[in-house]
Symmetry: C2
Subunit: 377 residues, 2 copies
C-alpha cells in the first residue's frame, strides 16, 4: 500500500499508538471521579493539555479537548452566535472553507446571521483588496483556514489578524488549522488568533479527538452542555487515552517539524511532479507554488478522477478526489470553482497528499502508476 | 484494585480492546474516502451499525454514532428546539436527570423554552398522578432516564410512552439509556421510544464513543454541521476503531445480559448489603429495592463521604460520591434532594456500582473495608 491521501487521515505514529494502548489499559478511570484511579486519568489529561499548550505557546487553560476539528469549528461559530449576539450579526468566511465551516455558516444564516463570503484568486489567496473590503463591513468574527484542505493554499493568520487590527479591531479571528497543526509553525498569540481548531487524526493521532484553542474568556457557551468537563465548556467523559495519544502525536509532529519534516515533503512533491512532467500527460497543477507542500492538487484534463482513482486503487495506491468528505458527491470541487477554475478543471482534480512517513521510492512508484494510468485512460 | 465505580466508567472488555487495536492498525482509512482503504473503514462502521441495530431491533439507518451520551442528549434536545420550534416550546424532564439533560434544558430555558420538571418520590419513581398532570400540559418532548445514574431507580420507558399515547400523543420520548444500555432489555419500537442516548464506556467499551437512536425523520438538524457523515446528521470523521469496539462491547453486553449477568449482579449487591447489615454501621440505603442492582446508593449518616472515599481509596477500593461528573462540587446530591431526602442524607451518600467482572470476594472485601472505615470514622 502506498498511502498518498494523508490530508484525509493519517496512520497512527508509534508514540501515539503506545500512549493510546497504555492509557486504555492503565489509566481508564473517569477523570471526574474523586478516587485515585480517576485522579490519575485527570492528571494524564492535564499533562496532555500542558504539553500541547507548550507547543502552541499559550496557557493550558486555553486548550479544550473535543471530538475533532468539526466539533471545534461548530463550537466556535455557535458559541459566537449565542454568546455575542450583537457581534455575531456578521461573520466573514470564504467560499473555499471546509464544509464544517460552510455548513455551520449556512445553518447560522438560516437563523438570521449575515455571512459574508470572500473568494480566493487562482493562486488560492485572498487579495488584499477583497480582504480590506470584506473587513470594512465590520464582521464580528472572521473564520478562515490556515492551509486549504484541497489545494494546500496558505492563508497566513498573522496577515489577517494585522488587517483586522487596522480595519475592524473588535472582530475575533478563528483559524481552522486541521491541515496545518503540527506541520507549520502556529502561535495563537504571535499570530493574533482568538480561536483555533485541529484534529488529532490529521497528524498521526487517533480519530475522535481534537482540540479547540480559545483565548481566555472567548469561549462562553458550550456546544455540549452537561457534567461540566473542560472548565464547563465541553461536557462529556473525557477520552483520556485518545487525548494522551493526541498530545504524543503533537509532540512528535513538532519534533519532525523542527527537524526538517517540511524539506522531506518538498522532496517528495518535487519527485512526483518531476516524474509527471517527464511524461506526456495532460495535466494542470491546481495547487499554488507557495502553498503547503503536503497537498498537491492536479487536474488530469479529460479524465474522470474517480476512474483514475480506481486504476490506482487496484495497485494499492491511495489518493483522493477533492476532500474525503465531499468525495462521494461527484460534483465539481467547490474549492476549485471558488478559485475561478472552470467546471472541467474543477471536475477532474485528484488530490495527492504526503506524510513524513512517505518515501521517495513510494512517491516515484505512484507517479509512474499515475502516468501509466493516465496514458491508458 | 477493587473497582466498584462502574456507573462512572468501566474497564474495556477483551473483545472491545481487540477490535479497537485491530482497526487502529488495519482499518485506519477515512471512511469518506472513495478508495478501498476508505471503503474498508466505511464497511466496518456499517457492520457495527447493523450489529447494534440488531440488538435494539431497529433499522441501521436509525443509529447515529456520536462522541458519547452527552453529545447524543445535546443533539436530541437542540434538534428539537431548532427543528420543531412549535412543539419544542415545552419540554418535560425531571429534577433527577443527568446534568447532560439538566444543563442543556437550562440553556434551552434561557432561550425561551418552557421546561417542566417533575420530581421523583422517595422510591425514585414518578407517581402516576404527577406524570399525568405534567403530560397534561402537552409537552412536545419528554426526556427521562431509564436508570438513574446515582440511585439506580428505574423509569420504565414503556409505561411513559403509553401514558404519552393516551394524554399527549404528539409528544416525542427521549430516553437517556447511559446506565441501562446493554444491561436491561431495550427495544425502541416495543417501548415507544423516539430517541435514545448511550455511551460505549459505560458497558466496557471505549471512551469517546456513543450512539443516538432516532426514529426515521425524527432527527433533522445536526448538532455538528460539516462533511455530512452519519447521513448528514453528525459530521466529523468517524472514529472507526472506537465504533467497532462499541459494537463488540454491545454484543458482549447483550450476551451477558441474556446469560444471567443480572442475577450475578444481584448476588454481589446482596452480599454487600448482608455484610453491612451484620455490622453496627449507621447507614440508610437510598437506592430503591426495585431499581437497578448495578447501583447501590447508601448514606452513612454523620460521615463525610469524601473522607470515607479516601479511606477506601488507600486500600485500592474505588467507589464514588454521587455521580462522577458532580463529585467535585461537594454539594448535597441534587438527585437525592429531588427524591425528598434531607440535606444530611443527601450530603453523606456513597455510590457503589457493580460490573459483571466484579467477584463476590471483591465485594465482600470491599464491604468489610466499608464497615471498618465507618466504625473508625
Amino acid at each position: 500500500m502506498i498511502f498518498l491521501d494523508n490530508a484525509s487521515t493519517t496512520s497512527l505514529c508509534d508514540k501515539a499508538r503506545d500512549a493510546l494502548i497504555y492509557h486504555l489499559d492503565h489509566t481508564n478511570g473517569n477523570p471526574s471521579s474523586l478516587h485515585n484511579y480517576g485522579n490519575e486519568a485527570k492528571r494524564v489529561i492535564e499533562d496532555s493539555r500542558m504539553k500541547i499548550a507548550g507547543l502552541l505557546d499559550c496557557s493550558a487553560k486555553e486548550i479544550y479537548f473535543t471530538s475533532g476539528a468539526t466539533e471545534s469549528i461548530n463550537t466556535v461559530l455557535k458559541n459566537f452566535w449565542h454568546a455575542y449576539p450583537k457581534a455575531a450579526r456578521r461573520i466573514l468566511t470564504s467560499t473555499a472553507e471546509h464544509s464544517a465551516t460552510t455548513e455551520t455558516c449556512k445553518f447560522l444564516k438560516s437563523n438570521g446571521i449575515e455571512v459574508i463570503n470572500i473568494s480566493p484568486s487562482e493562486n488560492g489567496r485572498y487579495s488584499d483588496e477583497k480582504l480590506r473590503e470584506a473587513l470594512g463591513s465590520k464582521p464580528g468574527l472572521v473564520s478562515l483556514m490556515h492551509v486549504n484542505n484541497e489545494t494546500g493554499a496558505i492563508t497566513e493568520p498573522r496577515k489577517i489578524s494585522e488587517m483586522i487590527k487596522s480595519i475592524c479591531p473588535r472582530a475575533k479571528l478563528h483559524i481552522d488549522a486541521a491541515q496545518s497543526f503540527g506541520k507549520f509553525g502556529l502561535s495563537p498569540y504571535k499570530d493574533g488568533i482568538d480561536y483555533l481548531s485541529a484534529s488529532a487524526h490529521k497528524l498521526h493521532g487517533p480519530k475522535g479527538v481534537g482540540l479547540l484553542f480559545a483565548r481566555r474568556n472567548a469561549l462562553l457557551i458550550p456546544l455540549l452542555h452537561g457534567g461540566g468537563q473542560e472548565s464547563k465548556l465541553r461536557s462529556g467523559t473525557e477520552n483520556t487515552a485518545g487525548i494522551a495519544a493526541f498530545a504524543e502525536a503533537s509532540d512528535e509532529a513538532w519534533n519532525w517539524m523542527i527537524n526538517g519534516d517540511l524539506s522531506h515533503i518538498k522532496i517528495l512533491r518535487t519527485a512526483f511532479l518531476k516524474e509527471l512532467s517527464a511524461s506526456h500527460s495532460n495535466y494542470l497543477v491546481n495547487s499554488p507554488d507557495d502553498g503547503s507542500d503536503y497537498i498537491l492538487n492536479i487536474s488530469f484534463i479529460g479524465i474522470r478522477p474517480e476512474v483514475l482513482l480506481r486504476c490506482l486503487d487496484s495497485e494499492g495506491i491511495y489518493v483522493s478526489t477533492s476532500s474525503a468528505c465531499s468525495s462521494r458527491n461527484r460534483k465539481p470541487s467547490r474549492v476549485l470553482k471558488a478559485m475561478g477554475f472552470d467546471d472541467e478543471r474543477a471536475s477532474s482534480a485528484i488530490r495527492i497528499s504526503f506524510s513524513r512517513y512517505n518515501t521517495i521510492d513510494e512517491v516515484t512508484i505512484a507517479a509512474k502508476a499515475f502516468v501509466k494510468a493516465v496514458s491508458f485512460l
